[in-house]
Symmetry: C2
Subunit: 206 residues, 2 copies
């Protein structure tokens, strides 16, 4: 399959959420127009995004909601569940571990890791905090699909190397440093300060 833009994938994820909303409201059929309106985008954009993956609609009618939901779940890889580990049990790790939406979407957090003895052995909402020294052995026993890196800047690259060596191929990075990984590993970088800075830029330039 040819390369799909990240922006397109993000919109597909948005469409899926909107469609589930429509389904919940009992709507059976939806037009690209209606989806676009609710998603803050345009109808041609919706159709183009979907057309990269096939023809899911009916001309003159629109899209059948349940069908499009399952198509999108399939495209996004959401028909299966994922094992997720969190590395770093600080503020960010803790907030993410307790985040209900993850589990309800099929992203199951198997454990959190830290090296602080005061935290090891405790648990948050059923998620155990384990010694980061055990990370490699644990992953050998129970591989993870996705890792969330929520450690301080210095520790991020070393722990990433260990995760990659253990077979993790997708990483959500909250540490404020770019991570170096092999080409077959995907990294998404999240940085709240940077988001606020884009807002301060917007406030300044008018």
């Amino acid at each position: 399959m040819r390369k799909i833009a990240d922006s397109t994938v993000r919109r597909l994820s948005l469409y899926l959420r909107l469609l589930e909303e429509f389904a919940h409201e009992g709507v059976e059929t939806v037009s690209s127009q209606a989806l676009a309106r609710r998603g803050g985008t345009t109808a041609p954009q919706v159709r183009k995004d979907l057309s990269f993956f096939g023809s899911f609609g009916m001309r003159g009618m629109g899209y059948r909601v349940p069908e499009l939901v399952s198509r999108l779940r399939d495209i996004l890889g959401l028909e299966r569940e994922y094992v997720v580990v969190i590395v770093g049990a600080g503020k960010v790790g803790s907030a993410l571990a307790q985040f209900r939406e993850f589990a309800s979407r099929g992203f199951n957090i198997s454990a959190a890791y830290d090296h602080d003895p005061a935290k090891i052995g405790r648990e948050w909402e059923g998620i155990a905090i384990r010694d980061v020294a055990r990370l490699d052995r644990d992953l050998a026993a129970r591989p993870a699909d996705i890792a969330i890196v929520a450690v301080p800047a210095e520790g991020a690259q070393p722990v990433t190397d260990r995760l990659v060596a253990a077979g993790v191929r997708a990483i959500l990075n909250f540490a404020p440093v770019p991570l170096a990984v092999p080409a077959d590993v995907t990294v998404k970088h999240v940085n709240m300060v940077l988001e606020l800075e884009t807002l301060s830029y917007a406030l300044r330039h008018r």
Copy 2:
């Protein structure tokens, strides 16, 4: 000033962080090449990004680190401090309120708001949780530059309307719904589930 792409602004913010790192290491001068290497981008990209705002380097030499830091801080609007309110004192709001990097970057959280009586009156690390009913009056007395919306989906649009009416012109939205705002208000949407979904897409397509 002509319109600058969001991707450019995000990179400027990245460059600033990297430059502060270089400064901390005692580096006085840096080339676009060196910045690019550390930031995971390319040298022409760095030069182009900067050139939208002026000529800050010295041919043959590179950029003087302290000067470029202050130029970037100026461009990004970081020479001043910002008053930030958080609406919604759940898991997300709490994690953000306790997030040290905000204050150290000049984003000062003045208060958090909720309507749960069990939370109102408590405080997190010196940040008071106040009754959301007081939001409008409080903002009239002490205007906020930026609001962080961390309430459930249903409540997001109504509270946004109140924030906008109270003069807030920049919003960081954690609620899983697009927010409608006037054209002079900037909204940044943050959604962790969506980030994980782009990772599951990446895992699925290879």
